[in-house]
């Protein structure tokens, strides 16, 4: 048995944890790559990273992020940016705090420790010379958290919701990366870049043993069966977890079936086939479908109300409806436009 509120919180713990890792990877990549680029190239690279992370609408009011320093501040410690590492770490901590009685103590300690180490910087911008150290600190903490999750957490509904959140977020990031790649104004798909940003370079080399080509990398990131970060692998794991919790929660059967359908389309090569004709619309549709799965899960953890008198009780502060990703009306109308990341308010 798990409270709907706890299921919701742990689903978002999974998403924010994964988002933390993805953003740190982007920062790590940017820290190493941008120094070799001309200013105009660096600006494009920064825009691409922001687009990959689905943060264009958040970054837009800030104008051009210009250089490394602004990018690092925006992605690392800007509390006004819900996609920054600090925001994501804070969100993880807050949700773990509200579910503290049902998670391993070590899980809370790791997340709390990471948050406190971040807060030691106070409101000051993290100096560039400490960037590597800070990124390493976050990566290690994320690995420790993953370790506690894998080895220390009971395989109950709470565990499954964290896992579902992670798998969905990871899929959304990977597809977002590919969408951004197909709309790169430099008109080139940098295969190595995509592999680095998904921590998949070594796996690709071991699997294919040659210099990566863009099409092969896209196929691998989408449907590689030996790659735990491929969209197919993520959907398989999410579907399995959804089957577990869906056995007691009917409302989660819808997203399970939708995830299963996407998984089957990837397995059967339907999506890669569609991409061979028109890659961007096919990817955008996949991106949309993944966001829909996330929305349906978030809605599904709040079961249909048995009686109308209860409905007012589950409204969040401010009367907002349960979390839902902000989605455009028609994803196919504007191919290539990135979807904003789901933000749990």
């Amino acid at each position: 048995m798990i409270l709907a509120r706890h299921a919701d919180a742990l689903f978002w713990v999974g998403r924010y944890l994964e988002r933390t890792e993805a953003t740190v990877r982007c920062l790590d990549y940017a820290a190493n790559s941008i120094i070799h680029l001309r200013p105009d190239e660096a600006r494009i690279e920064i825009e691409q990273l922001v687009k990959t992370l689905g943060l264009e609408s958040v970054a837009a009011p800030l104008g051009s992020l210009g250089g490394r320093r602004q990018l690092f501040a925006f992605l690392l410690s800007d509390t006004a940016n819900p996609g920054s590492v600090l925001s994501a770490v804070s969100a993880v901590r807050e949700r773990l705090r509200s579910t503290r009685e049902r998670i391993p103590i070590e899980l809370w300690e790791e997340a709390n420790g990471l948050y406190l180490r971040f807060r030691e910087f106070g409101d000051t911008e993290i100096p560039p010379e400490q960037l590597h150290e800070v990124l390493l600190m976050v990566r290690r903490a994320c690995l420790a958290i993953s370790g506690v999750l894998n080895e220390g957490m009971r395989r109950d509904e709470g565990y499954e919701f964290i896992l579902i959140g992670r798998m969905i977020e990871r899929s959304v990031f990977t597809v977002g990366l590919l969408v951004a790649g197909y709309t790169d104004p430099r008109d080139v798909m940098d295969a190595t870049r995509m592999l680095r940003l998904t921590s998949s370079l070594q796996a690709y080399h071991r699997r294919h043993g040659h210099a990566p080509d863009a099409e092969g990398v896209v196929r691998y990131l989408l449907a590689g069966t030996d790659l735990p970060r491929s969209v197919l692998s993520c959907l398989l794991r999410a579907e399995e977890s959804l089957r577990g919790v869906g056995s007691v929660a009917d409302a989660l059967d819808g997203p399970r079936r939708r995830a299963g359908l996407l998984r089957a389309r990837l397995e059967l090569g339907e999506i890669t086939e569609a991409m061979s004709q028109e890659p961007l619309p096919a990817l955008s549709e996949l991106h949309w479908d993944l966001a829909e799965v996330a929305s349906e899960i978030a809605a599904g953890v709040v079961p249909p109300l048995g009686f109308p008198t209860a409905s007012s009780q589950y409204l969040r502060p401010g009367g907002a409806p349960p979390d839902a990703d902000p989605l455009p009306a028609d994803p196919s109308a504007e191919p290539g436009r990135s979807l904003s990341p789901g933000i749990d308010r």
Partner: protein
């Protein structure tokens, strides 16, 4: 004053050099400067430490608390900040003989208070009818709740978790300072203090055998399960919290985790057809026992404060229908009102036919004209307390107060005598406490916890709170007080 370090072996330039006992009863040292029996080994151990080592241990404990997020919130601070729970390294020791008396006294007191509450809310009001407590005083209490009239609770146990604040007077005698029968907090810190001490100062335990404390979750769950309506087997128990921004949220989560039950907020519960349900991903699941950590006023917006967003609409109806038990029961504030406190010894005599084992502190009722006149004549010698506050708020210590403060208190008493009591100053006992450089005496109190379901049990030890400033009598954590690990020794080590 004796300089006790001279009497210690191996103390050298250690922490206890120049230790001068404070006024009142020093629990660790005799008046001649020698260590009292149960403290002898601890004093020797601390005598071997220097300030640097003690600072290292203190940092170790603070880091442990910080890492685990063992915090409390002080609302009066602008940031509403979470503070790391402060624990002093020097433990409090209670011998088996002392504890036996305390245990019997606390059991007696809580039993009588439960009798009074059952008599008041679901009995025939015998104590009032027989003039033991004035009716007007009880019904004018802010804690008295008319909505609770007629609601019966299993075993007549209205107060399932009580925190009774006790102090030791100048002669070392235990006295009850105040009863907390609504939502006493602090038990989680008792257990975490022990865990931190065991990690940082395990060597201190080698010479002693202390009663364990980690069984509290089991005891509490057993108590709460015994409160299920109709004696239901394997009842569904939940802990109800106001949420993560509450000062005691850490404790709420701690208790739910140690019992293995869900920590719910008001929005997780819903009432339908007179039954309380939890909202789960499986749908609505009935709840049998709610250990609430929300004040009466906020429990049910239909019956109490309509602006409460923390409670559960319709909960009072479910209580009346007898489908759920709320622990502690609604309306317990009528018995822990400080205006009722002076009558507790009479309630013990009335319900149990025994003399109180633990006395009250001498208290004057400001609504009594004679007592008021006498107290106002020597306000600068007394402690002035508002009857409806807790956590040390509004307390004025006469000997430490300015003329202006005394005048303000005098005017307040004369304007609303029902709202005030005065008490003789109890020179709280003291214990050596680490100041960052050395051990100095600091005043302490003790909050033992008493659980009542089918039977009444006293949890061994309790929360020892310590004033952090020399001479201060204010031990509340919200006023900057700290805490100490409290050891109840087994008989062979007493």
């Amino acid at each position: 004053m004796a300089i006790v370090a001279d009497s210690l072996q191996g103390s050298g330039d250690a922490l206890l050099d120049c230790y001068e006992p404070a006024r009142g009863f020093d629990e660790a040292f005799e008046s001649d400067g020698s260590a009292r029996g149960v403290y002898r080994r601890i004093v020797e151990r601390f005598g071997e430490l220097d300030a640097g080592e003690a600072q290292r241990l203190e940092r170790l404990v603070a880091d442990e608390f910080r890492r685990q997020g063992i915090t409390f919130t002080v609302y009066s601070e602008e940031e509403g900040t979470e503070r790391i729970w402060p624990m002093d390294l020097f433990p409090r020791l209670i011998s088996a003989t002392e504890w036996d008396e305390l245990e019997r006294g606390l059991t007696q007191r809580v039993t009588a208070l439960n009798c009074f509450l059952a008599d008041l809310y679901s009995g025939d009001g015998a104590a009032i009818a027989d003039g033991i407590v004035p009716r007007w005083l009880v019904v004018s209490s802010r804690g008295f709740e008319r909505n609770a009239m007629g609601i019966e609770v299993p075993h007549g146990a209205h107060c399932n978790i009580a925190g009774i604040d006790v102090v030791r007077d100048a002669g070392g005698r235990y006295r009850v300072l105040e009863d907390n029968l609504r939502n006493p907090s602090g038990i989680s810190y008792v257990i975490e203090n022990r865990a931190a001490m065991a990690k940082a100062c395990s060597w201190l335990f080698y010479d002693h055998a202390t009663q364990p404390v980690e069984q509290y979750g089991r005891m509490l769950r057993s108590t709460l399960e015994s409160m299920a309506p109709g004696g239901k087997d394997s009842p569904h128990v939940v802990v109800l919290t106001p949420g993560i921004f509450n000062a005691a949220y850490f404790e709420h989560a701690f208790l739910a985790r140690s019992m293995g039950v869900e920590l719910v907020e008001g929005r997780d519960l819903v009432v339908d057809g007179g039954t309380v349900f939890a909202r789960t991903i499986e749908g609505l699941i009935a709840v049998d026992v709610i250990y609430r950590r929300i004040d009466d006023d906020f429990l049910d917006p239909v019956a109490f404060r309509p602006d409460s967003t923390l409670g559960v609409p319709g909960l009072l109806g479910a209580l009346r229908a007898g489908t759920v038990t709320v622990c502690n029961a609604i309306g317990n504030g009528a018995a822990d009102d400080k205006a009722v406190y002076p009558y507790v010894p009479d309630l013990i005599r009335y319900y149990l036919g025994d003399e109180p084992i633990i006395d009250n502190v001498s208290t004057y009722m400001m609504w009594d004209p004679d007592q008021r006149a006498e107290a106002l004549g020597r306000l600068d010698e007394l402690v002035v307390k508002p009857v409806g506050e807790s956590g040390g708020y509004g307390v004025l210590i006469g000997p430490h107060a300015s003329d202006e403060e005394l005048e303000t208190a005098r005017a307040a008493i004369e304007a609303d005598p029902r709202n005030w009591i005065t008490q003789e100053v109890v020179q709280l006992s003291s214990l050596p406490s680490f100041t960052g450089e050395r051990l100095e005496p600091r005043h302490v109190d003790l909050r033992p916890f008493v659980l009542t379901g089918e039977r009444t049990e006293v949890f061994p030890g309790g929360l020892t709170r310590v004033a952090m400033r020399r001479g201060s009598l204010i031990v509340n954590s919200s006023a900057g007080g700290g805490s100490k690990d409290t050891w109840v020794l087994t008989p062979e080590y007493s």
